[in-house]
C-alpha cells in the first residue's frame, strides 16, 4: 500500500484535520511531560480499577466523541443549508453521515450512560465497587481503543461511507472497495466485547452486591433500569458480534453471507443488524428513564409515583424491544401478515412508555418543584420525547410507512426520541451527580444558558425535518434543487444547529467555570436527595461507604434523614478491602487496537503476530493472584471525620 493511499489526501478540510490532530497529540504529550504528570496519570487513572474514576473517564471520552459527532452534524446541516451547495461532495457527505451515526450511538450515548452508571450504580446499592473491577477497567479501555481506532479512519485509510446501518450489498467489497467499512467492522467488534463485559459486570453487581435488606423492589429506579439495560446488552450484543463477524469474513476473506450470486442473502444482514439495533435503542434509552425518575422525585420532594408500574413498564419495554426489528424494513418485501405483526408489537411499546410518562407527571403533581438544571432537563424531556413517541406510532403503521420510509421524517423522529431520551438525560444526570464525581455543583446560571440554547436549538434543527420529510425529501440526500421548495426549512434547520452548538459550548464553558470558581463546600447531599449515593462525601471516598448501609425500605437515605438517623458509629468502622490497580487492561486494549488496525488494512501476518500479545495478556491475567489491599480503619475514620465533622 502506497503512502498516499494510507493517508487520506486531496481534501483541504481533511488536511487541516491531520495537522490539527498531529499538533494536538504533540501538544498533549509535551504538556503532560512538562507538568511531569505521566506517573500520576498512570497510577491514578490509566491503571485504576475504581468504578468512579472509570466512570469519569467514560464521561470525558463521551463528551469528546459528542464534539466529534456534533461537528459531523454541523457539516451536514451546512451542506444542505442552501440548495445546490457544494461545500462537501457526495462521497464526503456519505462518510460524514456514517460516522455521525456510529459515533453518536456507540461512542457518545453508550459511554456517557455507562459512565454515569459506573459512577452511580455501586453507590446507589451501597456497594464498595462493581463485581469485577479489573474487567470493568478492561471494558473501558476496549471502548476507548475502539473509539480511537474508528476516529482515525478519516485521516488514515478513509472513513466508512455506507451509513451507520451498513446495508449489504452497498457495504460489501463490490460497492465499497475502500477499507472504510473495515474500520466499522473491526472497531465496533472491539467496542462490543467491552460492552458485553460491562453488561455482565453490572448484572452481577446488582444481583449480588446490594446492601443488606435491599430487595429487588426496594432498589432505586436508576438501578432497576441499569439492570434491565444490562440484561438487554447480554441478550443483544452477541447478535452484533456475529453480524460483524459475517461482515468481516465477507469483506476481507471472500465469504458469501450477503452475496446473492453465490447464494447469500443481504436481508440476513438487515435482520441481524436490527435484531441488535432495535434493542440497542432501548439499551440507551432505559437508563435515561431511570435518571429522570430519580431527578423528578428528588426535585418534586415526593416519592416516585407508581414505582411498581414503573418496574413492570421497563421490563415490558425491554421484552417488546426484542420483537419489533422488522419495522425497520417494512418496504423490503415482507408479507402483509409479517408487517402487521411487527406493526402491532411496535405500537404496543407506546403503552408501557405512556405509563411511565404519566407516572412522572403524577410524581410532580402537588410536589414542591425546584427548577434546578437537572429538573429543567427532565421537564423538557417530557414534551419533546412525546413528539418523538407519537411520530414513532405514525411510523409503526406499516401501510403509512410506505410514505415515510427513508425520509427526513424518520430522521426527525429518531432525533426527537434519542436527543430528549438520551442527551437531555445525560445532561440532567451530569448536573445532578456532578458533585458526587468532583465535589462541586455546576453553575446554575450558565446552566440555564446551556439549557435554553440547547433545547431551542434542538427543536429548530429537527422540527423542520418532519415537514420536508412528509414533502418527500429522502434522508442522506447531500444536495437538492431550488424547485423542491425545501430551502427555507433546511436553512432554518441549519441556523438551529448553530444554536444547538452554542448550547454545547455553554456546557463546556460551564464545566470550565465551575472547575475554577465553584464552591467546594457543599457537603455530601447538596440536593436534599433520596437515595444512598448521597450518604457519602463529595467527591466520594475511594472506599465508598465506611460501613455498609442497611436498608429496610425504598429511599432509605431519605427516611434516615427525616428520622435523624444518619449517624455513623465509630466502633463499626473496620479495615476495608480494596482491589489493586492493574496495567493489564490498558495494555490489552493497546494490543487489541494494534491487531484491529492491521486487520482493517488486511495485513494478516502482522495481525496474527500481534494477537499473541492479546493471548499473553489473558494468560497474565489468569496468573495474577493479587488479592488487593486493606485500608486501615484508622485511615477510614480520619477521612470520614474530615467531611462529617464530629464522629
Amino acid at each position: 500500500m502506497k503512502l498516499d493511499e494510507f493517508f487520506v489526501t486531496g481534501d483541504p478540510i481533511i488536511f487541516l484535520s491531520q495537522i490539527a490532530i498531529g499538533l494536538t497529540i504533540i501538544g498533549l504529550v509535551a504538556l503532560i511531560s512538562y507538568l511531569k504528570k505521566w506517573k500520576y496519570l498512570w497510577q491514578e487513572w490509566f491503571t485504576t480499577v475504581d468504578h468512579k474514576k472509570i466512570g469519569i473517564m467514560y464521561i470525558i471520552a463521551g463528551v469528546l466523541m459528542f464534539f466529534r459527532g456534533g461537528v459531523d452534524g454541523l457539516m451536514m446541516r451546512a451542506q444542505t443549508s442552501r440548495p445546490g451547495l457544494e461545500l462537501l461532495d457526495g462521497q464526503h457527505y456519505d462518510e460524514i453521515f456514517t460516522t455521525h451515526g456510529v459515533v453518536m450511538i456507540l461512542f457518545m450515548a453508550m459511554p456517557l450512560l455507562i459512565g454515569i452508571m459506573n459512577v452511580v450504580l455501586p453507590l446507589q446499592i451501597g456497594a464498595r465497587d462493581v463485581a469485577f473491577p479489573k474487567l470493568n477497567a478492561l471494558s473501558f479501555w476496549l471502548f476507548f481503543g475502539a473509539a480511537m481506532l474508528f476516529n482515525i479512519s478519516f485521516v488514515i485509510g478513509g472513513s466508512p461511507d455506507a451509513g451507520w446501518t451498513n446495508y449489504f450489498p452497498l457495504a460489501g467489497v463490490e460497492f465499497s472497495p475502500d477499507i472504510g467499512n473495515n474500520f466499522y467492522a473491526i472497531a465496533l467488534q472491539i467496542a462490543g466485547i467491552g460492552t458485553l463485559a460491562t453488561g455482565i459486570n453490572f448484572i452481577v453487581t446488582i444481583l449480588k452486591m446490594r446492601a443488606p435488606g435491599m430487595t429487588l423492589m426496594k432498589m432505586p429506579m436508576f438501578t432497576w433500569t441499569s439492570l434491565v439495560t444490562s440484561v438487554l446488552i447480554v441478550a443483544a450484543f452477541p447478535i452484533l458480534t456475529i453480524a460483524l463477524l459475517m461482515m468481516t469474513l465477507d469483506r476481507m476473506f471472500g465469504a458469501h453471507f450477503f452475496t446473492v450470486a453465490a447464494g447469500g442473502d443481504p436481508m440476513l444482514w438487515l435482520n441481524l443488524f436490527w435484531l441488535w439495533g432495535h434493542p440497542e435503542v432501548y439499551i440507551v434509552v432505559l437508563p435515561a428513564f431511570g435518571m429522570y425518575s430519580e431527578i423528578i422525585a428528588t426535585f418534586s420532594r415526593k416519592n416516585l409515583f407508581g414505582y411498581k408500574t414503573m418496574v413492570i413498564s421497563i421490563v415490558a419495554i425491554a421484552f417488546l424491544s426484542m420483537l419489533v426489528w422488522v419495522h425497520h424494513f417494512y418496504t423490503m418485501g415482507n408479507s402483509a401478515a409479517v408487517n402487521s405483526v411487527f406493526s402491532v408489537t411496535t405500537m404496543m411499546i407506546a403503552i408501557p412508555t405512556g405509563v411511565k410518562i404519566f407516572n412522572w407527571l403524577f410524581t410532580m403533581r402537588k410536589g414542591r418543584i425546584q427548577f434546578t438544571n437537572a429538573m429543567m432537563w427532565s421537564l423538557a424531556f417530557i414534551p419533546c420525547f412525546t413528539i418523538g413517541g407519537v411520530t414513532g406510532v405514525m411510523l409503526a403503521m406499516a401501510a403509512a410507512d410506505y410514505q415515510y420510509h427513508n425520509t427526513m421524517f424518520l430522521v426527525a423522529h429518531f432525533h426527537y426520541v434519542l436527543i430528549p431520551g438520551v442527551v437531555f438525560a445525560v445532561f440532567a444526570g451530569l448536573y445532578y451527580w456532578w458533585p458526587k464525581m468532583f465535589g462541586f455543583t455546576l453553575n446554575e446560571r450558565i446552566g440555564k444558558w446551556h439549557f435554553w440554547l440547547f433545547v431551542i436549538g434542538f427543536n429548530m434543527t429537527f422540527m423542520p425535518m418532519f415537514f420536508v420529510g412528509l414533502d418527500g425529501m429522502s434522508r442522506r440526500m447531500y444536495t437538492y434543487s431550488e424547485s423542491t421548495g425545501w430551502a427555507p426549512y433546511l436553512g432554518f434547520s441549519a441556523i438551529g444547529s448553530l444554536v444547538l452548538a452554542a448550547g454545547f459550548a455553554a456546557l463546556v464553558y460551564n464545566i470550565y467555570w465551575s472547575f475554577r470558581y465553584a464552591s467546594r463546600d457543599i457537603g455530601g447531599d447538596p440536593w436534599d436527595a433520596r437515595t444512598l449515593e448521597w450518604d457519602t462525601a463529595s467527591p466520594v471516598q475511594e472506599y465508598n461507604f465506611a460501613v455498609t448501609p442497611e436498608v429496610t425500605e425504598l429511599d432509605q437515605f431519605w427516611k434516615n434523614k427525616k428520622e435523624g438517623k444518619n449517624k455513623l458509629k465509630k466502633e463499626e468502622i473496620k479495615d476495608i478491602h480494596m482491589p489493586s490497580n492493574s496495567g493489564i487492561p490498558i495494555i490489552m486494549s493497546v494490543a487489541f487496537g494494534i491487531v484491529g488496525f492491521f486487520l482493517i488494512f488486511e495485513w494478516f501476518t502482522l495481525a496474527a503476530i500481534f494477537s499473541i500479545a492479546i493471548i499473553a495478556g489473558l494468560i497474565a491475567s489468569s496468573f495474577d493472584y493479587d488479592d488487593g489491599y486493606h485500608i486501615p480503619a484508622k485511615k477510614v475514620l480520619e477521612t470520614e471525620r474530615k467531611w462529617r465533622g464530629d464522629l
Binding site: 463485581a131 469474513l249 458469501h256 452475496t259 447469500g264
Partner: protein
C-alpha cells in the same frame, strides 16, 4: 461424604459466587451467539450456488468419531470435577489431562475434516452455504481450542497452588465452559450433519 453435605469449595467465598454467576451470564451470551450462527446457517444452507452440498462431501464416520471424542471428554471433565470435590489433586489432574487429550483428538479430526472438504472443492469462498457452515463449525472449533489452552493454564496453576478456593472456582468455571461446548456440538450434529443427511 463430606463434600456433598457442605458448600462446595468453589462457592466458598462471595467473590467466587459472583464469578460463577458472571460466567453463567456469559454462557447466556454465548447461547445467543451460537443461536445467531445457527440462524444464519439455516437461512443459507440452501444457497450452494452450484457448489457441493453437505450431503455430497461429508463423511459420517469421522463426524461420529468427533462426537464420541467430545462427549467422552465432557464425561472425563465431570470425573475431574468429582475428584476435585474429594480434594484429590492427583486424580483431578489425570482426568483433566485425559479431557484435554480427547479435546485435542477432536480438533485433530475436525482439522482433517476441513482439509478433506477443501480437497472436495468446498472452501469458505465457495458459496453462501460453505461460508455459513465453516463459520459455525469454525467458531465452535475455535472455542474448543481456546478451552484447551485455558485448561492447560489451569493445570499449571493447580500444580503450583493445589486445590484452593480460587483454583477450584477457576476449574469449575472452565468445566462449565467445556460442557457448554459439548451441548453446542450436539446441536451441530443434529441440525447440521444429521439434517444434512436427510435433506
Amino acid at each position: 461424604m463430606a463434600s456433598q453435605t457442605s458448600t462446595p469449595l468453589e462457592y466458598s467465598t462471595h467473590q467466587n459466587e459472583m464469578n460463577i454467576l458472571g460466567f453463567w451470564l456469559f454462557l447466556g451470551a454465548e447461547i445467543v451467539l451460537f443461536a445467531t450462527l445457527f440462524a444464519g446457517y439455516f437461512v443459507l444452507e440452501g444457497g450452494t450456488a452450484d457448489g457441493p452440498t453437505l450431503a455430497e462431501i461429508f463423511v459420517l464416520n469421522d463426524v461420529l468419531i468427533e462426537t464420541f471424542l467430545l462427549l467422552t471428554s465432557s464425561f472425563t471433565m465431570g470425573l475431574a470435577l468429582h475428584q476435585m470435590r474429594h480434594n484429590n489433586l492427583k486424580g483431578m489432574l489425570i482426568f483433566t489431562v485425559i479431557t484435554l487429550l480427547l479435546g485435542a483428538g477432536f480438533m485433530y479430526m475436525e482439522i482433517n475434516e476441513f482439509i478433506h472438504y477443501v480437497h472436495e472443492g468446498a472452501t469458505l469462498q465457495t458459496s453462501a452455504f460453505t461460508s455459513a457452515f465453516f463459520t459455525l463449525l469454525g467458531t465452535h472449533g475455535a472455542h474448543v481450542s481456546f478451552g484447551i489452552v485455558w485448561i492447560t493454564m489451569l493445570i499449571i496453576q493447580l500444580v503450583q497452588r493445589g486445590i484452593t478456593p480460587v483454583t477450584s472456582r477457576k476449574f469449575f468455571i472452565a468445566s462449565l465452559y467445556w460442557h457448554f461446548l459439548d451441548v453446542v456440538w450436539i446441536f451441530i450434529l443434529t441440525f447440521v450433519y444429521l439434517r444434512g443427511v436427510l435433506m
